[in-house]
Each structure stands twice: as structure tokens, then as C-alpha cells.
Amino acid sequence: MDWFESAGLSLIVFLPAAGALALFALPKAREDAQKWLALLTTGLTAALAVAVAANFNYGGSEKFQFEVSTSWIPAIGARYHIGVDGISLPLLVLSAVVTVLAVIYSWDHWDEPRNVRGFLALMLLLATGMNGTFVALDLVLFFIFFELVLLPMYFMIGIWGDSAKRRIPVLGRTVTMRLYAAIKFFIFTLFGSAFMLLGFLALYFRSGDFLGENTFDIPALIALGSQNAFGSGTFAFLVFGAMFLGFAVKVPMWPFHTWLPDAHTAAPTVGSVLLAAILLKLGSYAFLRISIPILPDMAREWAPFIGLLAVIGIIYGSLACLAQTDVKRLIAFSSVGHMGFVMLGIATMTDVGFNASLIGMVAHGLITGLLFFLAGSMHHRYHTREIARLGGNQKLMPWMGGIFAFTAMASLGLPGLAGFWGEFMSLLGAYRPLAGLSLSQFQTYMVIGAIGTVLTAGYMLWMLQRVNLGEPKAEWSDHEFHDVEPTEWLAWAPLIVAIVAIGVYPRIVLGATTDAVVNLARTAFGG
């Protein structure tokens, strides 16, 4: 299996892009062939990702495996260096699997203006960007993949998104949501990543002082970081800040989150799913992969601030959810809260916290992905997402209602389901943050976070009550509703199984991550 060791990851990254190109070799009218081709490439990609997970050496999950490093742009010393470790593996598998499910779901769910080939091509291109970000071990390569997701998502939201008009008070005019959301998403992210790039370049130049040769190589920079080469002066402060901007916008952390509700709400269903399940993780993953190990001293200094923004996000997200009248927008705001828990875990700078954030990311990907699928399917049937007009969903569509209730429970952190671990462990981490961080401060965060879990339960149950329970409204009385369809079952069943499985047996994720994050905390903070 030598070829697999060396080419496996590259295939996972580039197979979808090749599929996107191949789609254009098919005639425009042959939609079925296009769908099968997309399914084949994403399916193969997911199979390869699972095979990587199966052949992964869990005993050494702190080491990069399936590594490939060849010359790419010698003029600037950028290399094609990829690999996975315990931190990136679960996210890589999540990304590859959710993409297949998205293709399956879109089989017979098309938003206007249809154009199957274009949509599938964008989805595949997106997959290349997402998978690539999780395996990139070179800052330039990381930057390219991190940015690669922008264009497909921009077009996905802008073309297939929601054409509703909405008045934006800040702009003082009425805008078409899909156009507004698409450009807002693009500009926010690009703004962050422009500064992120400046930070990367600064690291590149400074690395030359220690290595004799400038490098973009992430493992090499991590090795420098573990000796605290970049110190804790102004330089490190500015670099951490520049990268923080890039990553925090992507997560998104409060107060950089305002693009998220618009983008999620306006995006077509599959776009929202991929956005929530995977794109948000690019930011939080980057904290663990780049910021913390390379600039550990600064990470420690910024930790209280990151934690503060995280808990503000938790409370803000929950309160905003209570005020929403649109199912999809509510789910979008709930992401702000859940990513707040992920970032709180990271802010503790302990192995427990890092583990919490990783399992939180995976759980949020599965649960919120499924919630967006459900919201899309319900919108498909009711042609509205107004909570006030829904009601009695459970009676009209028992299966759909059941899955919705199950997912909402998972989202509010019910023990036994995947969502529980991320919240619980990140609060646990905040109880005992890294030595040197203020104990009382983080314990305050913990208490606020705990209040957040209560609020989360509150808005989720309230939404469930209004959407699922009670009697159907009169306007739906002569409607014929078809319950969950086969393609929907196919797309959702793996998510449901994974949510239960991780909830009952979190070692599925933690088994891969634990050694890696323990190693991360030890090399970064020496404890």
C-alpha cells in the first residue's frame, strides 16, 4: 500500500477538483450522469478518507502521517507539504463524508435556477478547498486552500440563494438577501485573510533568523514555537493579532459573526450545511494548527480575551436565537453559540479544552449540518420558514418531526448524544485552565457558559414546541405532506448514527485527538 501512503491524501484533496472539471465534459442536459459523476468522486474521496482513518496509527497520533513534501514554489520556499495528525483527521473525515451526504441530498432538491452541473462543480471545488485546508502543512498552501472555498461559496449563495428582500438598517436600503449575504461573506472573510497573510509572511521572515533559511513549513515553525523562538514581544503580538483576525472571522467569533446569520439564512440548503458543518471549522482548526503551537506565549496572553469573546458569543448567540422568527436564522445563530463553546475550549489552553473544542467541532458539524438539512426540507414542503406559521409538524410528518426533535436535543447538549461532550468538556476545561491563567476569570467564564447551556436548551425546546408540537395551523389543512424521502434518509441516516455513536462512545473522536492535543499542550506550554 505504498501508493496509498504517498498519494492518498493528495487524492482526497484533488479528486473532487478533477471531478468538477470532468463534469464539464458531460453534456449539459445529462443531469443524471452529472449527479452520478459527482457522487462517484465524492464517494471515492470519502472512502479514501475513511481508509486513511483506518490505516492511521492511533498510537502516534501526535505525529504527522501520510506525509508528502515536495517542491512547489522554490522561489519563495513554499512546499507542497501535506499530512494528517490526530487533530486534523476527524475533521478531514467529517469534511469528506458530509460532502457525499450533501451530494446525495441534492439529488432531487434543486433551488432555482437549477443548473445542476454548475452547482455540483462548485460543491466539488469547495470540497477540494476544505479537504486541502485540513491537510496543508505549509502556510502558503494553507492560505491557498483557505481562500479556495471563497469563490464557490460566494457563487453558491449568490446564485442559488434566497431571493427574499430585506431592509438592512445600517445600509438604509432594501437588498436581495442572496446578493447581500454573498458579498458580505466574501468581504468579511477576505478582510480577515488579508491580515492573516501578512501574519504568515511575518512568520516566514522571522523564521530565517533561527533556521538560517526562511520557511513556510508548519511543522518547522511549530518546532520553533515550542522553543518559544518568536517570543512575546510586539512582533509576536502583532502576528498573533493578524492571524487572529483571519481565523476569528472564519469561526466566527463575536463580534465578527455578523456575516454568518445572513450567509447561512440566504444560502441554499446544501450551502448552509457545508458552511455550518465544515467551513466554520477551518477557523477554529487554524487556531489549533497554527496560532497556538507557533506562538504559544502569545496564545497564553490572548487566552483571557479569546475566552471573553467566546462566552459573549455563547450568551449573545442564545439570546439572539430567542428573538428569531425564521427557523433557518435561528439555527444560524445557534452556531454562534456553539462555536463559542469550541472557542472557550481552545481559550483554556489545556489538553482537556483542546479535546473539547475538537469533539465540539465534529459534533457541531454533524448536528448543525443535519439541522440545516431539516430546515431545508421543511422549507421545501411548507414554502415558509416562519416559525409562527409552522406548528404540529410532528402530526403532519411524524418521521421528519421525530428527526427534528432528536437533532434539536442533540444540539442542546443532551447527554448521550454528540453535542453533550463539546459543551461539557469545554466547561470542565474552563474550571481548570492552563497554569498562569486567572482561575477566577475562567471559572466565571465557566459559570456564564453554563448559563449559556441553559439558554440553549431554552431556545431549542421553545422552537421545538412551536414547530413540532400542537395542532397544525389551518392553512395546512388541505395540504398533502410527504414525509422523509429516500434520498433524505440516505443523507441523514449516517449523521443520525454518528451523533448517537459519538454521544455514547466519544472515543471515536477522542481516541484520535487525545494524544495529539496532549502533545500540543505539552510542547506549547511545557506542562
Binding site: 522561489a75 457563487f155 458579498i183 466574501f186 468581504i187 516566514y204
Partner: protein, 498 residues
Amino acid sequence: MDLDYHALAPELVVAATILVVLGLDVALPRPRKYWTAFAGVLGLALAAVPLLTLAFGDGPETRSMLGGAYVVDGFALVLKAVFIVGGYLVLLMSVSYIESDRYYQGEYYLLMLTSILGSLVMASSRDLITLFVGLELVTGPLFLLAGWRKGDAKSNEASLKFFILGVLSTAILLYGMSFLYGLTGSVTFEGIREAGADLLDSGAFRLAVLFTLVGFGFKVTAVPFHFWAPDTYEGAPTPVTAYLSVGSKAAGFVGLLLLCYKALPSVTEIWGPALWVLAALSMTLGNLTALRQDNVVRMLAYSSIAQGGFILVPFAAAAVSNDPAVIQEAASATIVYVIIYAFMNLGAFGVVIAGARRTGSTMIDDWAGMWRYAPRLAVLGAMFFFSLAGIPPLAGWYAKFAMFLSILRPGNAWTTALAVIAAVNAVIALVYYARIGKTMWMDHVPEGADRTSATNPLSGSLALALGISALFVVVAGILPFEFAGVFADLAKVVTTGI
């Protein structure tokens, strides 16, 4: 006179082509004038052959003529290649555009080729006189070409504005050059470099340097010497605008590169701050004004002003450092940016020509929903405009990346500040580039607009031109290595002796 005819072959082939075009224009009856276009395109393609034999043949690496005034080295060859390929693309775009106007085809190609010949001369020039002659050869024909649509008042205005400001800038440039010669006693860059080191405190020398910079500032449309550009760009025939924004602009940058790195490396404290300011102003004002444009050609005019600012950024890095590696990196960043910019901007103009032909308008809003009736054109449009915005994996990202790399290298507060200005501008630029993508892909076809015409906007030579640019933009974006390696070597040539 000891002339190396092999080294001069590209210029000679272009000159011969000019004569052939002239002859054909006289000899052919009006309905068959299109042969002049064919001859022009073919001649320019032939001119690329000696470039290849010079680059890959066994001859000496540097061929110097006329007492060092005219040099063919790696730097000259690559820039000549850019001028020839860029000129070739412009000619391809011109063919159907000029044919549909039905008049003065022969003269059009004659003048265009003359301008290209001028840029070839500039790339090899190593003294003030050759540089000036080359520059005038580039600009002179363009005055006429800008006013090509004689019946159109806007075209006349374009030509007149361009002429008056062009002549003004030439006068300033020449004035500055005469001071340089008077103070240093030399017209060659070598001579100026050697003598310049002793003249640092001379006020007249400073003035001379600034005057030459201003002269080139007009040519590269740097703010505040840009105000002729938008009107001229809008009024001139679109292929001419494409050439103005790429060919003649690149020629201006070649002039600046030669002057700053070859002739005036000892007075960086004069041109460094000046170019810092020009770069910051061009990026910021160019972008902010581009945001407010409704006409795609005017938008591209302001965008090219802003792109010119990005191209100027590395000069500021070179100015603050004595480290040859830094200076070399800065020079190579400029060259790389110019080349990538040439392809993506020509591509964007090609899209404008095709789009205007299909919709009959260059107003951005009239292009709404283009993907429904011209999907391939919409794909190309998105590609070139997002490449200009610097979004990976399209080639524009590498141009911006190299620029950032060079400006952050010195680690000085001023250069870092310029990097931050550039970063903010990169984001602002996205807004208007993305707007074109939005209009073509996300808006609805305007009500009442008839878009059912059967004419294929992407036909023949224009499709070829767009195909070449698109191929470059994708390949250079994903695999910039070959490319970047070549230019790192080139930069060594430019910066030797510093």
C-alpha cells in the same frame, strides 16, 4: 557600427512587418484590407521566433551594442516576450472590432505595430536617449489610435486629453533627463549611476530625479498623474484601451525599473519616499473611485490605476534596503506583477469587447444575467475579474503574494505600513470586481432587453486571445513555480551592480 543582427532580429521582424502592412494597405483594394490584419498578426508571431533562439541558443547571455546603449539580456528578452505576446493578444482582439468599423484597417495595424516596436526598444535601452526614443515610439501612435473612432466625440476627447497630457509629461520627463545629463555628464545608466553617488546633496539632482519620476508617473497612470486615463480609456476603441492599460503601462514600468534600479540606485532616499506616496495614493484613490463606476471600461480604468499602485509597492521596499537579496526580490516582484497583470487585464478587456458586442453596452447593469445567454463568456469574465482581485487559485494571487513578500521583507515601519495599506486595498478592490461577477451571474436579465441574438460573441480571433489569457491565468495560478524561478533570475540581471 558593430550590430548584432541576431540580437536585433525581433525588432527587425516587427519593423519589416510594419513595412509589409504599409505596402499591403497601399496595394489592396478596400474589401480585401483584412489581409493587413493577417500580416500583422503573422509578423508579430514570427518576431517571437528569434526571441526563442536568443533565449535558448548558445550565444552569449548578454549582447551589448552601440557602446552599451542597447543591450539584449535576460531581462530584455523576457520583457520583449511579454510585449510581443501582449501585443499579439491585442491584435487578435482588434481584428473583428476594427473590421466592423470598416475604415483605416491598414493604418490601425501599422500604428499598433509601431507602438509595440517602441516597447521592444525600451526593454533593451540602457541610456536615456534610447529610453526616450523608445517611449515616444510607444506613445506617439497611441495618440492617433485613441482617436480612432473619428465620428465619436468621446473618442476625439480621449485623443485630445491623452495628447495634451502626454506631451506635457514628455516635456517634464525630457526636462528631468536633460538635468540628469547635465549634472552627471553621461546619458548611459552606468554613467549616471557612477556620477550620481557624488551628487546626493545637489538640489538640482533631486529635482531632476523627481521630474523623471513625474514623467513616468503619467505613463503608468499613478495618482495624482492619472486624470487623463479614465476619459481616454472610455473614449478610445476598446482594443486600444486594452493596449494602453497593459502594453504602454508595462512600458512605463520598464522605464521606471531601469531608471530606479540601473541608473539611480544610489539615490533611493529620493525616489523611495516619492514612489511610496505614489503607490499608496494610486491604490487607495484608484480603488475608491472604481467603487463608484457604472461603466465597466471606466471601472477597469480606475482598477488599472489601483493595480499600478500595487506594482509600485515593491519599489518602496527596495528603497529602504541595502541588501541585494531584498532589492532583487523587489525587482522580481514588480516584474512578476506586471506580467501576470498583463494577461489578466487583457483577458478582462477581451471579455469587455465580447460582452459589449453581445449586449451592445458597456454599462455594468446591462450585463445582468449574462450566464443565461452567454455562459462561457460569463465564466471567463468571473475568472479574469476575480484574478484581478487576487483570489486563489487564479494567477492574481501570486502577483499580490510576491508583492506582499517583497514589501514585508525589510521589516521597516514605513514599508510595513504600506503593506497594511495594500492589504486593506486588496479587500476594497474585491468589492467592485465581485460586482461584475455578481451582475453576470446573480442578477436577472434586464426587463425588455433582447438577448436572443444569434451572434456568438466569442468567435475566431477573440476567442483565441481569451483562451490564451485564461490558460495562463489558471496555470500560473496553480503552478507559479517555473515562472517564479525564471523571474528571480531576471531580477538578478536588473539589479546587478547595486
